[in-house]
Symmetry: C2
């Protein structure tokens, strides 16, 4: 994509309404624009990141054996009356009346609807176990939306639901999701720490929040240093095997949010293993047994002819929130530092002197070759000051920058910069191409 | 995917609420379930088709130089007051009041919001031309929703918007979209015919509907037979070239919907070139000049310092509607006949005798090899009657079926069936694999 054509309205100044760094950087980089309070439009740069995150979430859900479907945003109030949550939910639920005066709502979550779908088709033990998920926009009418996409009103969430014959089966589903969450966040460059959690309005017996550490996190968290050094992607995970030992490994050491904090247990750790930090919730999983299947009558026949209510769990990931959370965890004073797996482009190619007889053909040629090699490039071909180009590239945080200036062009060389470390090498255009093409899919 | 695990609740009986064939077949094949009147959940089989159609639309928008972003579903009423459409829209607009008593709405289209986004960032002639699109759920509160996803209330639409300095520039954008629509529908196996159209609530001077022919179409259409024989995918299209001659080729011969029909002109055609049929609208494009940019003040400075309102167009494709429309255009009395490009799986692999010592290892092995080769397979490994398996495979309409029975297995052979023609060959498993793997991406 050429910068001269790309719709990326960056801002020079810090917008005054943004209190936290991710909100500030997303506005400045032209990733999002507020449409109404707590409601955002995703401009092309932000949309690309959102899609990459969504795709990682999807791949890891699929890998764990979860099947994707898509439920609508607008739901019937009657269904929520069956579970008793229509009245419980209060003012955070956006309530709507249609032209025939039927009461509807903009779904804040989907336990009721998925349970209805399941009960209308499942009849026997052969229809379970089943794990189903969707990635859909939700609405929560927050009283004071803030922090940009981190706490918006309209937000994109992945929510999965499991259906099993009994508590033991539900535990297996819970473990699959637990492990798949570790993998999902690790692929985005995040070290997510599972912490025992309250169940809130979803209800249930067993629940973990997945928390990433960031100075600007919304809540205080306390954990054993061991969590920070673990490498989950190196594990070879077979989702059909017994995952209990792995889950145990990740739930034995101390980790708790403010609400669940046990100062005595934490204090008993050696001082150098005590981590006190701020955390951002990026995922939340629940096992709630028959809380929804009983009132909604989601039942199946067992092999010996009994009728039982299925055991269920639900599993959420805040997809749009993750865009902000990753920035909170990965930025510096110049701007965003994207992990490669979610970067909107892999490399920014900068022609320092647009129209120059040496730099322009060299930059055009490298752009064409990178594109042919399947590398995603943002090519700054604009006729603006070098300083402005550098500042914008650092702001939007692509993993690599390739800069072509008159001095280098004379020698056939480019400057190859790694955004995260700031390291710069002078290498041939050919070598830059090879570096970028071979890192593809890394 | 193994059928024993796949969530595909098919129905044996025709659902009584479904009046048209696509609605009936989508319910029977377990592609969708109604959540509320005119609002559907997309089950895994239907979701796969929806995603394939969405991806073709996306690729062709990108190819034409259109950039993807994503606007929210919920919009502010105030913005629609600026264009004057808040009152015009009537009861089809789903109006919402939030917890702070602010008037909101569920967007039925996005001219206002995209114009606001553009006006807040564009300043000069350098910021145009620009084409932006999104693929987002919309809501129209139809008084009598019917025909399943063909006329639902919550529906997925691709809407693109163009911004240009003048009418000539806008015409170039219009032509790009015109041609990209021909390509988009052709890739889905549809012969879409552009017909001059009324502009309705969008307004404007120039408009075409893209209509596909189907017996169950909603409106009568009249066209020259020439349209039915054209092959658009064989054209090598350069979107930067002058597309006017190509657009002219597609708008010269007679084609009109009921509303715009000119019986005299149609009657003047030779009898054998007169096609009278039913049609389904799958796309609609508009040029409306400064209808929105003037009231909403979307202005830029020209090269000689004048301030002008930009010329705009908008361009819609009914993504969820297309799922139904393709079925209307492609089915037989046994079920759906998917074009390969949008089929949920490429092939259905049937083990006629689950558990059999000869058929099962052969089917398992072919399933594994097809999967490794990147072929999307639905593997019917269930222990049910052969007749039920055949009926279900025909119903869901995958392009190819590979059937492994005891007699064939003894000879190392499978039955390879092409759903569209019904042609069956007895070939080796190896040959079936080669046929399917080589057709990949065709």
């Amino acid at each position: 994509m050429r910068s001269s054509q790309f719709f990326m309205p960056t801002l020079r100044e810090n917008p005054s309404e943004a209190q936290i760094v991710s909100h500030r950087l997303m506005l400045r980089a032209g990733m999002v624009r507020q449409a109404s309070s707590g409601i955002y439009s995703w401009l092309p740069l932000g949309f690309k990141v959102l899609k990459k995150i969504e795709q990682i979430v999807r791949e890891e859900q699929d890998r764990a054996g979860c099947q994707e479907l898509l439920m609508p945003t607008i739901q019937s109030a009657d269904l929520w009356r069956e579970s008793g949550r229509y009245d419980d939910y209060g003012k955070e639920m956006l309530r709507i009346t249609d032209r025939h005066d039927r009461e509807m709502l903009y779904g804040p979550t989907n336990e009721e609807l998925i349970t209805e779908i399941f009960r209308n088709s499942a009849k026997s033990y052969r229809d379970v176990p089943k794990m189903l998920y969707h990635i859909q926009w939700k609405f929560r009418d927050e009283v004071r939306p803030r922090f940009g996409v981190m706490r918006g009103r309209e937000f994109l969430m992945k929510d999965a639901y499991s259906f099993d014959l009994d508590a033991a089966g539900a535990r297996r589903a819970y473990n699959k999701m637990f492990v798949s969450y570790l993998r999902t966040f690790a692929r985005m460059g995040l070290q997510a720490i599972p912490m025992a959690a309250d169940t809130g309005p979803i209800g249930g017996d067993l629940s973990h929040e997945f928390i990433i550490l960031a100075d600007t996190g919304e809540s205080a968290v306390f954990c054993d240093r061991s969590f920070i050094e673990r490498d989950v992607l190196s594990l070879d995970i077979d989702y059909d095997s017994d995952l209990e030992p792995l889950v145990k490994q990740w739930t034995t050491d101390y980790a708790a949010t403010d609400e669940k904090h046990d100062a005595a247990r934490f204090g008993a750790l050696p001082k150098d293993r005590q981590v006190e930090a701020r955390g951002i919730e990026v995922g939340h999983i629940f096992y709630f047994g028959t809380k929804y299947s009983e009132p909604l009558k989601a039942q199946v026949q067992t092999q010996d002819g009994q009728t039982i209510s299925v055991h269920m769990g639900s599993y959420g990931i805040g997809v749009s929130r993750l865009v902000g959370a990753i920035i909170e965890a990965s930025h510096d004073d110049k701007g965003i530092v994207w992990p490669e797996s979610v970067a909107p482009f892999k490399v920014g190619l900068v022609n320092l002197k647009a129209g120059d007889a040496a730099t322009t053909p060299m930059a055009d040629d490298l752009y064409a070759r990178l594109t042919r090699a399947g590398v995603e490039v943002l090519y700054d071909d604009r006729d603006v000051r070098a300083g402005e180009k550098f500042a914008q590239m650092d702001l939007i945080g692509l993993p690599y920058q390739v800069v072509i200036g008159p001095r280098g062009a004379a020698k056939g060389e480019v400057e190859f910069k790694t955004r995260k470390t700031g390291a710069v090498e002078e290498i041939s255009a050919e070598a830059a191409l090879n570096k970028l093409a071979s890192r593809q899919g890394a």
